[in-house]
Symmetry: C2
Subunit: 345 residues, 2 copies
Amino acid sequence: MAATIIDVARHAGVSIATVSRVMNGTTAVRPDTRQRVAEAIEALGYRPNQLARSLPGGQSDRVIGLVIPEINNPVFPEIAQAVEHEARHQGYQVMLCQTDDRWAIELKYAKLLIDRRVSGIIFVSGSFSHVKGDMEPYRLVREANIPYVLVNSRASDSTMAPVLATDEVAAGKMQAAYLLQHGHRHIGFLGGGLGYYVTRDRLLGVNQAMASLARGETASLTQQLGGFQQNRATLLARTLLTQNPRPTGILCASDLLAMIFMTQARHMGLRIPDDLSVIGFDGIQMVQHTWPPLTTIAQPLRKMGTLAVKSVLGQPINPRLELTLIKGQSVGAVPSNAILKDVAT
Amino acid sequence: MAATIIDVARHAGVSIATVSRVMNGTTAVRPDTRQRVAEAIEALGYRPNQLARSLPGGQSDRVIGLVIPEINNPVFPEIAQAVEHEARHQGYQVMLCQTDDRWAIELKYAKLLIDRRVSGIIFVSGSFSHVKGDMEPYRLVREANIPYVLVNSRASDSTMAPVLATDEVAAGKMQAAYLLQHGHRHIGFLGGGLGYYVTRDRLLGVNQAMASLARGETASLTQQLGGFQQNRATLLARTLLTQNPRPTGILCASDLLAMIFMTQARHMGLRIPDDLSVIGFDGIQMVQHTWPPLTTIAQPLRKMGTLAVKSVLGQPINPRLELTLIKGQSVGAVPSNAILKDVAT
DNA sequence: CTGTTAGCGCATTCAC
DNA sequence: GTGAATGCGCTAACAG
């Protein structure tokens, strides 16, 4: 159907080698010849077949695989956007792989990307972020000699790959410290299960912050762990809200969780930050538009996407990722009647 | 580096054809032979090169190109998610192309996708959605004989391609009607420029709704058109809010615009829906988490993604897309002091 | 059932 | 400068 290099050669009365030359500018070609070829290309609307082009060169499809749990959680689009930008600037395309947070699909995608001989793979919050995660995908990719990088969450020791992640312990510490500073002593934690490294690290940080209170001071921690999915999160939020006594300062593992939580709190007639303080994590752009504006610890999401691309392309990077406190209006002082107020179900 | 089919053949003591056969199950192979080959494959960790595999068959890379303006506007991830799901179920992968809403990049991506011989291309809110949009990308794709579909917004007559879009006129009508029902007679419109078909159609619908008021009744319309980008939108929102008299019912071209608008309104000390009513468009999931929950007209975003995939794969679809009113709490009655109240800048 | 032989579209040595 | 020849990894006839 489409014109091939042979058609062009014939049309221009030259050999295919010459056509190839004018296309890639490998060797010098006499101006008039080059002209004739150019015209032939134009006339036939010829476009070189990238697939065929990749074959001789060994591999290198100039494609980067981006593997993420779900496109719908706003934190991933922000990373994806940066990945696409950087990839585009470097002349690469992005293969979008969504795993629905299921390891089997992640493995399947890893295989597909290997088979396609992509230039690199970026795994975001994959099974590696789970304590008992399946390391098979990464093993395969490594054996296939394809550069990859693990974004978000800690990598287990068995994966020898660059990791791009913020200090989750520090993150938990910052979140808790901020709540403690505002006088909260009954902290609630809403997050994923203990199977996730993030959860463990975050809790570690929280405990560190609580331990560093002045002597005599104590604080309690109520956890609701389960998952990041909307349904689960809604349930967890309700449960946390019906605790008695109810925590006054809530620390959420992600901004989306925080948003879900705030919505639930509202459903139950609680006001933020008057009755309840909330702090999130991620720093997605959407936090500007919540009410009240969410106070959160921001990761450099865009930077993470950019660095991930550079990393798999073998370019030197500084993997230092800073956390930033974004002050919204979702954290306030402890309500004076905190202990008395009951919850309406 | 990686093992090829030849290595496997040698290792198993058979011909490459036989290896190919056991891989694809094309022809029957004697069990013990198949076994030997399987072992060889396993032993060498062989994975067939998809690129090479595509060549003989003509094309068909089993890849679908998804071209969207930006990943960050929440409406696109929702479509993208559905596209990935459907593509995966059908054994296809998705190439993510972000244009930053720039025609030049859209064109560039169209070329890249053609060169890569993708199976189909899904253009979402592309340059075709603009009255003076550049039709070159679609022309090229058509000439390359690659199936494509235009999602969102109306296609100009010059593009002969399936279009997947809701009835924008009806949408505008629904939005306006809802506000009118609540007694609003001073309507504000916040949206993209007149260069977009959506804007034109939406305004057409708004006018239709306003025209169908009972005799003697009239309503006014104040427009702020400009763009969908965050910065622009913020400016437009402020301008709209400082009109005198200020419209009491605001109709936004997208949910994101509505969210931006509500945030601005809040900054100016206005309460929704007490002082101001707002209705959005798109029906993104995030509307559940705004405050107040946004009232909006929902498009079947997921369905659009699913149908888009089926469409480019040549499967029969019913392109009927229904609009649904999602009742939030952002629309209320006209404030009694609407005319008196001034705006603080 | 299985091995042999052509290409697929292109880049790349080589000679001329 | 340019053309002919070779091979990339694999599938698909075509023979045995």
